[in-house]
Structures are given as C-alpha cells and as structure tokens.
C-alpha cells in the first residue's frame, strides 16, 4: 500500500500516465470482454478459461497492473495511489474489469507484504499478481466464530515442520483454492498468544474439503478438515505466537474489502422504481415511502463513499475498517431489500420460467448478502471494536 508520505506525481506526469495507460489498455484489452465482470474469476478459478480471458489475465498480470500499488520488485505495478486511480478510471472507461483478484489480492498479499520474510514474498506475491494461485482463508472453526481466538486447530512442533490437526469452517472458495492461509494453535497455554499464521497447500495429504450449501442455494464456503497434515516451518508467517497480530491485520483488509466494492454498482433503484411503481405528473415515484427510502439509501451511500475515501486518505487500513464494514454491509443489505421490495413478487423468483436471470440473481444476492454482517467479524464484533479501541470504553468488570 502506498502511503501519503510519498511524493505525489505532478499533474503533467499524471496526464502522461493517463495516455500511457489508455494506449496500453487499447493494445491489450480484448474488446469481447467489454463490460464482462471478471472480479469473481480469480476466486472461482477454472470454470471459465476462454482465450480472451486468459490473454487479459496474463497481460494484466505481467504488467503488474492487477495489483497496481504493490512493489514492482514482487510483480506489482509500482504505481502511486494517484496513478492507480487514473488506471482505474481508464479501465472503467474501456469497460475493462480487473481479472486479478480474489483473497490473495484483497487480504493475503497486503498482509504478507507487511509481515512476510523476503523469501516468502518472493515466492508468493508474484504469483498472486499474475493470478496463478488461488488462496483461501482458514480462520473460523465451529466453536471459534465471533470468538475467533478460541480456535483449536493444532499445529504440533516436529522440528523442521508442524503436524496440523483440526477443522476450519467458512473456508471461502476452499473447493477451488490452491493454498490456504490459516490461523492455528501452536501453544495451548495462551489464548491469543498461542496462535500462529501458517500457509498450507490444499493438495497436501490429509486436507479434506466439504462445500457448505447456503440459504442462497450456492456453496461458496467449505468445511476444511486437516488430518496429520505436514507443513514446513518455512510456511509460517511471522514468529510463533504472532499469528493473532498478523491475522487481525488481515481482517482489517478483509473488512475494508467487504464494505467497499459493490455499493455503487448495479441498477439504479430510482429508475427501477419509476418503471415498476409509476410516477406522478411531476415524475416523482408515486409510492412516497418507497421514494423516501431510496433517497435515504442514496444519500447514506454517498456519505459512506466519502467516508471510505477519507479513511483511505488518512492512512489506509486501520480500526476505521470496522466503521466501514458496519456501515457498508448495512447499506448493501438495505439496497438488496429495497431492490426486491420494488420488484414485489417479481423480485422473489428462485428459478424457472417467469423470471429474468437478473431477477433471480437479485434474490440470490439478497440472501447471500445476509452473510456480510456475519463474516469477516460480525457487526456485533465490529461494534465492540469501535467501542473499545476507538472510544476507549472499558470491558465490564
């Protein structure tokens, strides 16, 4: 992550960069992919490997622009924040989606850049920048949800390696992932202080993955079982017992990502409501209460976007990520509820005839979106973090 401390490029330099980015995109972006969202392909992997998508992924990966602000030395773009914004604008202008993503980019990469050894960075970061390796997260366990530090998955010291035994749950994309960053217990005598951060190959002997069917009908999460899985000690990030500190930092990246992304996208609720509900002579949505709810959501959405930008300018990922996560997920859920409310019964299709793909997708998104206030540290946990770490309110005695 670039910091505010680095010198900002001049306006002329930015203009020059804009031309460079525009030319490069024109030369490398396959026109057939215009408007195609590739943000999920990095997580889900091999389902769709059309030649165009492969070509675009390889081009962006080699250029390092999928991870624009990461250091060039590890395969990133080495761009300043200002340049990255220009690149983002130019990609949007071309209708191009960033094909480099997933948990490696959003969570693990930034954390490894901060805490990993030079060898670990050289090994893993370039492959994340080229979207060659898919990462999944091994954090939660059946009895370690909100109380994550209660995790029991145990890594026994065997000299140059660990033997890992235990169960993880809510492993996002576990069935598609090549590698897992996991929090494991290396010391049973200390709660937080007994946790270490391990990198585990998903195809190692003893790793078993079972998808969990969600209320949306999809299975983006898995249960992951580790039975006598050997993990070399060189796969530990940080010191033994430092896992909680590293893991928490990663969660801040996760929260910032969960809260962000999808707010601006999608159909215009007001346009949809005009079409579905109707308007009066002055063009106002006839259902006054609905109109007010849409207006409130849009106004809060703008205030949220301004807050996200302010947090970024004030120094990137921090405890403020909790405020972003609480509010971002709340707004996303409210948007989903409003969307199906506007559509009425037409917005409640599950499958089959009588519904468009977009309508069915909206239902699945509505249902799946209920997870956003639970995963990545629930809203309740984020609220605790705000109360304790930002406001300094003490625990009950």
């Amino acid at each position: 992550m670039a910091s505010l401390a680095e010198p900002s490029p001049s306006a002329e330099a930015l203009d020059a960069f804009r031309i460079e980015a525009r030319d490069w995109i024109a030369a490398h972006f396959p026109p057939a992919l215009k408007g195609v969202d590739m943000s999920r392909s990095a997580l889900e992997g091999p389902s769709d490997k059309s030649a165009d998508k492969e070509a675009w992924r390889i081009a962006m990966g080699e250029k390092g622009w999928g991870t624009p602000t990461w250091p060039q030395r590890y395969g990133g773009g080495g761009l300043s924040d200002a340049e990255a914004r220009v690149l983002q604008q130019e990609l949007a202008r071309a209708g191009a989606s960033n094909p480099i993503g997933g948990m490696g980019v959003m969570m693990f990469g930034p954390t490894l850049l901060e805490f990993g050894s030079e060898e670990q960075k050289m090994e893993h970061i370039p492959r994340i920048c080229r979207a060659e390796v898919r990462w999944c997260q091994g954090y939660s366990e059946p009895n370690a949800g909100s109380d994550l530090a209660n995790l029991q998955c145990f890594a026994e010291d065997k000299g140059d390696h660990y033997i890992v035994n235990g169960q993880k749950t809510w492993t996002s994309g576990g069935q598609w992932a090549d590698k897992c960053f996991a929090l494991v217990r290396t010391d049973k005598s200390k709660k937080q202080g007994g946790i270490s951060f391990l990198l585990i190959d998903m195809d190692a002997p003893g790793v078993e993955v079972k998808p969990i069917k969600m209320i949306s009908g999809l299975s983006p999460f898995c249960e992951t079982f580790f039975t006598n899985v050997a993990v070399p000690k060189t796969n530990r990030v940080g010191d033994e017992g430092q896992g909680w500190t590293i893991g928490k930092r990663l969660l801040q990246h996760e929260r910032t990502n969960i809260s962000g992304g999808r707010m601006g996208g999608g159909v215009s609720l007001s346009e949809l409501a005009k079409a579905c509900v109707g308007t009066d002579a002055e063009g106002r949505i006839t259902d006054g209460e609905l109109r007010a709810r849409i207006a409130k959501l849009e106004m809060d959405g703008r205030a949220f976007a301004a807050t996200a930008m302010r947090v970024a300018q004030e120094g990137g990922v921090s405890v403020a990520s909790s405020i972003l996560k609480i509010n971002g997920t709340k707004l996303m859920q409210e948007r989903s509820e409003l969307l199906i409310d506007i559509l009425g019964m037409q917005g409640l299709g599950w499958e089959g005839e009588g519904f468009t793909n977009e309508q069915i997708e909206a239902v699945r998104v509505w249902l799946f979106g209920k997870a956003t206030t639970i995963y990545g540290g629930s809203t309740e946990i984020q609220t605790n973090i705000v109360a304790k770490r930002i406001l300094g309110m003490p625990d009950m005695g």
Binding site: D287, M345, L348, I374, S378
Partner: protein
C-alpha cells in the same frame, strides 16, 4: 394473548401438539426438497381437514363449525411456526368471499366442499407483481372472463378461483379457458400465474360495492396471523440459541447488547400480536365493521415489519450457521418476503390507513 374460551384453548393445544408431532420444520424441509408443483402435501391437508380445521370459519349450515376467525387464527399461527405448507389460509379467504357475496345456490355448491377439504379455492386479485387492487383489468362479458392474474397463492392446486374483475368478484372453476403457469419462488410455495381465456364466470352478486375490500381485509388479517406465528417461532428459537451458544467463555445471552436487542424484539412482536388479535376479533364481531379497513392495515403492516426484522435477526443472531441451508433460519426469511408483499406491503398499508383516516 387474547382471553380465549375453553374450546379455543383446546383447539390451540391440539394444533400445537399436532404441529410439533406431525408437522415439524423437518416436514417442510422434505416438502421443499420434493419440489412439487402444488407446494404442499395433500395428505397433510387431508389430516387438517379431518381435524375440522378447513371448516372453522364456514357456517354450520354449510358443513363448517362456525368457530370463528380468532379460532382459525390460533391454528394458522401454530401451523406457521413450523412453516406447515397447506392451502388453509387461501381456502378460508375464498370461502369468506363466497359467504359474503354468494347466493344460496353458490354457497351450497362450494362451501361444503371447501369445509371438508375436498376443494381448494383461492382468491385471484392482483395482475402485477405488486398488490394494487385499483388496477384490475380482467373483464367479464356474457358470463366469460378474460384476464391474467399474477402470483395467485395456491393457484397451482386450486379447483376454484374467486376472481376480481372490473365489475366485481366472480367464481371461476378450473377447467376450459383456465391456464396455470407455475412460478418457482424463493419460498417454494405455490404462486401461480393464472390466465383466463373466456372461462365461465359466475358473479358473486351480494356483499355490495365494498366486497373486494372486505375480502382483502380478511386476507390481510389471516396472513398477519401466519406471519405472527413465524415471528414468534423465529424469536423463541433465537432466544433459545443465545442461551446455549458459548463464545468468550460465556453464553451469548449474557451480553447486554444482545439482551437489549431481544427485549426490544420481544416488545415489538407483542405489539404485533395485539394488532393481529384485534384484527381477528374484529372479523368475529362483524356487523359493525366500519373500522375494519384500518384494523386490517394495522395488523398486516405490523406483521410485515415485525417479521421482516425478526427474520433478519434470526439469521444474524445465529451467525454463520443461520446462513446454511442445513439450518432452518433461511426458511423463515424466504417465506417472509412473499407474505410481506401479499395483500399490501407496509407502505401500501400505511397509505391505505391514512386514506381511510381522511388524510
């Protein structure tokens, strides 16, 4: 809880025992997985009929027990707790339309069959995805009806439709000129599109100009009773979970933030219970129903808002497990929204309440 008669208490206990023993949520899960067009198990509806539930609001002269809406509400609430799928609500409303607007011949022809559970009947009102009885275009000429009704509850299995047309309500039997198209919805219940192409239509001539509104008010109140049962169950189950789930070495129920949230939800559902019971009571005291429109709007709007909130809180407070298909919370969330949309969402009902109040 309203003061119940001894007979009503017996009925409620019977419903509670039957639901717990014969129709737990697991039964709904099987029905959901079976994915049938009707959306319910006719053998189960047969059992309900054998217990007399299908005739609770039908006059004794027509084979019912005339036991009243409060009584039916008790049964509907209990069934809703485990999401027991059946056309009980739809049939009671359709039967009411016939009782209010039908001739003696029409009543004699259909009410005994509905009361015995042999005939599934339903009202077909809305023509679009949002409840709006002011925009009906279905038209009857020379005893033939033309028009398309959207998202008709239990429409897939219905043998008789009470259809709202531009000039009143008509009885239309399933058969020639009636085309049903299944709509697979998030709650896995029946909400069919029903097209009428010159089907024979027999008018309900009684009941006056306000017949449709009165029928809809019945639908709103009985649907609110169903939603109340779901809210109550979602609440009870969540409370139980909070009392046993341990995190941070203590039960979740010991966290004050969660205590306050549950206390608030409890009060919210209690207010809704009062509103629903007031509605059921108003249906029973008939005769003077000048205020029925507002009473029904209060019951359904409150039920909408309470269930909306509770169905979300049930998932949230169960955490990850609440998001899994293996757990029951999703069923309540998925059934809640079609019921919220039926017969008026909250903004529709608040607008109706205000209009009836003269503002």
């Amino acid at each position: 809880m309203a003061k119940l008669s001894e007979e009503q208490e017996m009925l409620r206990d019977m419903a509670q025992n039957w639901v717990r023993g014969e129709s737990p949520v697991g039964a709904w899960r099987k029905q959901r997985d079976a994915d049938t067009v009707a959306g319910y198990d006719s053998a189960v509806y047969g059992e309900m009929a054998a217990m007399g539930w299908t005739g609770i609001t039908v006059a004794e002269a027509h084979g019912g027990s005339d036991f009243g809406w409060m009584s039916l509400g008790l049964v509907v609430e209990e069934c809703a707790k485990t999401l027991t799928a059946s056309p009980l609500v739809a049939c009671a409303i359709a039967a009411r339309a016939i009782a209010l607007g039908g001739t003696d011949e029409q009543k004699a022809k259909y009410l005994p069959a509905i009361a015995s559970g042999e005939l599934v009947a339903t009202i077909a009102v809305d023509e679009g995805p949002r409840h709006d009885p002011a925009t009906i275009t279905s038209k009857v000429a020379d005893g033939k009806i033309n028009g398309t009704k959207a998202f008709v509850a239990e429409g897939d299995s219905a043998g008789l439709f009470v259809v709202a047309a531009t000039d009143g309500l008509y009885l239309v039997e399933d058969g020639a000129g009636v085309t049903k198209s299944r709509r697979q919805m998030v709650d896995h219940r029946s909400h069919a599109e029903v097209r009428f192409d010159g089907a024979a239509a027999d008018k309900l001539t009684g009941g006056g100009d306000g017949l449709l509104d009165r029928v809809l008010d019945h639908a709103r109140i009985l649907t609110a009773a169903e939603m109340l049962g779901m809210s109550q169950q979602a609440f009870d189950q969540t409370l139980e979970y909070l009392k046993q789930r341990v995190q941070f070495d203590r039960i979740l129920a010991s966290f004050q933030a969660l205590q306050h949230r549950m206390a608030d939800l409890f009060g919210d559902i209690e207010l809704t219970r009062s509103a629903v019971e007031a509605g059921l009571g108003a249906l029973d005291s008939m005769g003077d129903n000048g205020d029925l429109g507002q009473i029904a709007a209060i019951a359904k709007a409150r039920a909408n808002d309470s269930l909306h909130r509770m169905s979300r809180e049930m998932v949230q407070l169960h955490g990850g497990i609440g998001m899994t298909d293996e757990f029951d919370a999703g069923f309540y969330l998925k059934r809640a929204r079609p019921l919220e949309a039926a017969w008026g969402n909250s903004s529709f009902l608040r607008d109706r309440f205000a209009r009836l109040g003269g503002y």
